[in-house]
């Protein structure tokens, strides 16, 4: 009997403690946000809607139609149409389609992109009324110059991101210089130096130098393995002639 009473009181006391703990939460600030009114603060590397950047300085489209992203996409949601222009003998981008209804936002395409053209933006509000409207074409995908500058700023600034320099340079430099060097991409002596250099100068005018670095890297890769698209490497040279010229000096 005494046991029963003490158990009953113990139980009631536990219930009381539970109720008190819940009640204490009255005085805690809510953790939810009024979402459409105030946007969430997303991390720079958040993998949202895919988009194509342009050179923030010149406004040139960065895509070189190398089709790396199209090939790596696990969902096959990217379709690139390009043709070889007869006069320059280079690939020209005609259309770039991404079916966001198929995309799973894994970000692999952004990892393999040699020119940092395709990126994951921080936009995630893509709801629409039909599946067809989720297929974004070149016009819808390409960011404006300002937006590109914003994303370059946001994504490239931090030094310890392996993202921009990794995939293409890794393949390229690995082929060219040091075969057995199992280091991450940015540790490559060949391009790590320039990469680091522009990372240092990034504070001053990062997007320009960044973009300059990319085509340079691209050409190097192209020289090295010369296998996937022999036309691909010619494009960046044509596009960014003068940066390529001063890059070797640097």
């Amino acid at each position: 009997m005494a046991n029963l009473i003490s158990r009953a009181f113990g139980g009631l006391n536990e219930v009381r403690r539970g109720l008190a703990t819940v009640f204490k939460h009255t005085f805690r600030e809510p953790i939810t946000k009024n979402y459409p009114d105030e946007m969430p603060d997303l991390a720079p590397h958040f993998r949202g809607r895919l988009a194509l950047t342009v050179n923030p300085e010149t406004g040139d489209h960065l895509c070189i139609s190398c089709k790396q992203c199209e090939r790596v996409c696990p969902d096959k949601c990217i379709e690139i149409t390009s043709h070889k222009s007869p006069e320059t003998n280079k690939l020209e981008l005609i259309d770039f389609k991404i079916d966001h209804g198929l995309c799973m936002f894994c970000g692999l395409c952004t990892e393999v992109c040699p020119t940092l053209c395709i990126i994951n933006t921080n936009d995630f509000e893509m709801a629409d009324y039909s599946r067809e409207s989720l297929i974004y074409d070149l016009k819808k995908l390409t960011l404006s110059q300002d937006e590109s500058a914003f994303y370059f700023d946001r994504k490239e600034m931090p030094l310890p991101k392996p993202k921009p320099a990794k995939p293409a340079p890794a393949a390229a430099a690995g082929a060219a210089a040091k075969p057995a060097d199992a280091k991450p991409a940015d540790a490559k002596p060949a391009d790590a130096k320039p990469a680091d250099a522009d990372a240092k100068t990034v504070e001053v005018k990062k997007p320009e130098i960044k973009d300059d670095a990319k085509p340079e890297v691209k050409t190097e890769e192209a020289k090295a393995d010369a296998k996937p698209e022999p036309k691909a490497e010619t494009k960046p040279e044509a596009k960014t002639d003068e940066p390529k010229a001063d890059e070797p000096k640097a």
Binding site: K76, C77, E79, L102, E132, A175, P179, A182, D225
Partner: protein, 224 residues
């Protein structure tokens, strides 16, 4: 990479027409691992020079468990597959007694059956048993190899079931039956487990053709 990938990727709209292509390409690639690696080697030399290292070489000495099984009169054969885990092959007839022995004997106590998997290799269907122990660090992989040439036409390769004395194997065997089409003889409830009961074919087999139905068919607007 270079030989099949671009063709597959560049013409996605033709993929449906060439539905058989990946399946056709895969056995060719898989048929001879060593061969597959070699033609790839020059092309892949750039990305991965480490390809110069050939197949892993395993010392052919008898392992602990092979020895143990031999002592108890169960023939087994060590397979040169993995560097770290002892892999032995036993025949289907002695599988049950071997597993019973390994599980219950106080010497080895391999009493944790991690998984039963079905593997299709070039000329065999393998039923693979990963054995661990709750009480010690031993690991063992047992394979039962059923030669494809031994399987009668229109029949499934058969392996004796161990689900009657080891419940852990029950669902794994059903799954292997479901996906790989290895029939476990005397299994208490040999039914498909992951796929619907009226599914046709065994999806993980190399000759499996993916069904094209209205639901999974190509959306005219999709670029898949």
């Amino acid at each position: 990479m270079t030989d099949e990938k671009p063709s597959e990727a560049e013409k996605p709209e033709e993929k449906k027409a060439e539905a058989a292509k990946p399946e056709a390409a895969k056995p060719a690639d898989a048929a001879k691992p060593a061969d597959a690696a070699k033609p790839a080697a020059p092309a892949a030399a750039a990305p991965k020079p480490a390809a110069k290292a050939p197949e892993p070489v395993i010392p052919a000495t008898a392992g602990k468990f092979e020895q143990f099984l031999k002592e108890h009169g169960i023939p087994s054969e060590r397979l040169p597959l993995s560097l770290t885990i002892e892999t032995i092959a036993v025949s289907g007839d002695v599988l049950q007694s071997a597993l019973r022995l390994l599980r219950n004997s106080s010497e080895v106590q391999l009493d944790l059956l991690l998984t039963v998997s079905g593997v299709e290799s070039n000329d065999t269907f393998d039923s693979v048993y990963h054995l661990w122990s709750y009480s010690n660090l031993d690991e063992l992989v047992i394979k039962v190899l059923v030669k494809k040439s031994d399987v009668p036409e229109g029949d499934l390769p058969a392996v004796p079931s161990i689900a009657n004395f080891w419940s852990a194997a029950n669902w794994h065997e059903r799954e292997t039956y479901d996906l790989m089409g290895i029939r476990y003889a005397n299994h208490p409830y040999m039914r498909r487990i992951l796929n619907p009961w009226d599914w046709e074919g065994y999806p993980l087999r190399r000759d499996y053709k993916q069904l094209v139905d209205s639901l999974n068919d190509k959306n005219p607007h999709s670029m898949r």
